[in-house]
């Protein structure tokens, strides 16, 4: 009788031990599954940060774009303006030269046709 009680106890202890181990295994598997979820949320956060960074860069770029265009146009106008000044300054001289040349006509017979 004592023996059987002792064996029952042992068996109970054995069974309990198995249960504990089984539970531990279940927790382990859950933990490994958790890894996926936690990894996912960490990744999302990282992605969010990067995206933020990118978007602000994009915004900045948009702003620069408008500024660049304006700057370029302004410079172009300045250069065109200085063209006008140059033109007004030199045109009279050039006109005189052109007209002189146009009016300077030297009628000459062909050298091979001249009878000396």
């Amino acid at each position: 009788m004592l023996q059987s009680r002792g064996i029952t106890d042992l068996l109970a202890a054995e069974k309990k031990a198995q249960e504990l181990i089984e539970e531990a295994r279940k927790r382990k598997n859950k933990r490994i599954k958790d890894a996926q979820n936690e990894a996912k949320s960490e990744i999302e956060q990282f992605k969010g940060e990067r995206d933020q960074r990118f978007k602000s860069l994009e915004q900045q770029q948009m702003g620069n774009r408008a500024q660049m265009t304006e700057e370029s146009n302004k410079q172009t106008q300045v250069q065109i303006g200085s063209l006008k000044a140059e033109y007004e300054a030199t045109k009279d001289n050039l006109l005189e030269r052109i007209i002189t040349l146009v009016c300077d006509i030297k009628p000459e017979s062909h050298i091979n046709a001249r009878i000396e």
């Binding site: 933990r31 490994i32 990894a39 370029s72 052109i98 007209i99 040349l101």
Partner: protein, 227 residues
């Protein structure tokens, strides 16, 4: 009988204790392993995705940079083109201004006849034909008629030739708004010498274009050879 009851009970207690301890150790082992595998798996997943995300955003950032460069280049091109266009506009304006001044000049009765006489003579020398027809502006008709004999004289003297007949085309005239000068025809209109003021202007203008450009816009910095 062997062992006493207490001994047996003690044995059994020991065995139970042993089983429990074994179990506890096993559980601890499993939990440690669990933690370890959790960490490995998590960092594997995170770094795997991290790499992809970094690559993705790097590429997008490069594209933005590329867009910026493209825009910069386009702006530079557009700027260059509009400056070149403006330059060309001024060159054309100069030509037009010259044309206007020349037109006015042809009203000057002290200068125009000399010019016209020279143009006629030059035309005759170029053609060297026996029968020449001259086309002029309606207003210049009488002036040309006056100058023809002199031109013929010049021609005959220089080339020792006698046969030349010069007439004015009474059917076709140069446009009244044109700057003046004459066109000469021979062989029934098959040979033409365009000695109009406008033709001369175009020719001379083109010839001195390099000089004009240099005076208006300065020496070209990009030009490497000047000879």
């Amino acid at each position: 009988m062997g062992l006493s009851e207490t001994d047996v009970a003690k044995q059994i207690q020991h065995m139970i204790a042993f089983i429990q301890q074994e179990a506890a150790e096993k559980v601890e082992e499993i939990e440690a392993k669990a933690e370890e595998e959790f960490n490995i798996e998590k960092s594997r997943l995170v770094s795997q995705q991290r790499i992809k995300i970094i690559e993705y955003y790097d590429k997008k950032e490069k594209q933005i940079e590329l867009q910026r460069k493209i825009q910069h280049s386009n702006l530079a091109n557009a700027s260059r083109l509009s400056i070149l266009k403006a330059r060309d506009d001024y060159v054309q304006a100069l030509k037009e201004e010259a044309r206007k001044q020349l037109t006015i000049l042809t009203q000057d009765r002290s200068k125009y006849p000399t010019i016209l006489a020279n143009l006629i003579a030059q035309g005759l020398y170029l053609l060297m034909e026996k029968e020449v027809s001259i086309r002029c502006r309606r207003n210049d008709r009488d002036l040309v008629q006056q100058l023809i004999p002199e031109a013929i004289q010049r021609y005959k003297q220089d080339l020792k030739q006698n046969d030349i007949k010069v007439t004015i085309d009474e059917k076709n005239f140069l446009a009244d708004e044109s700057a003046g000068g004459i066109e000469l025809f021979a062989m029934g209109g098959k040979i033409k010498v365009s000695n109009t003021i406008e033709a001369r202007l175009a020719m001379i203008f083109n010839q001195i274009l390099p000089e004009i450009r240099e005076k208006l816009f300065g020496v070209n910095q990009n030009r490497k050879y000047h000879d």
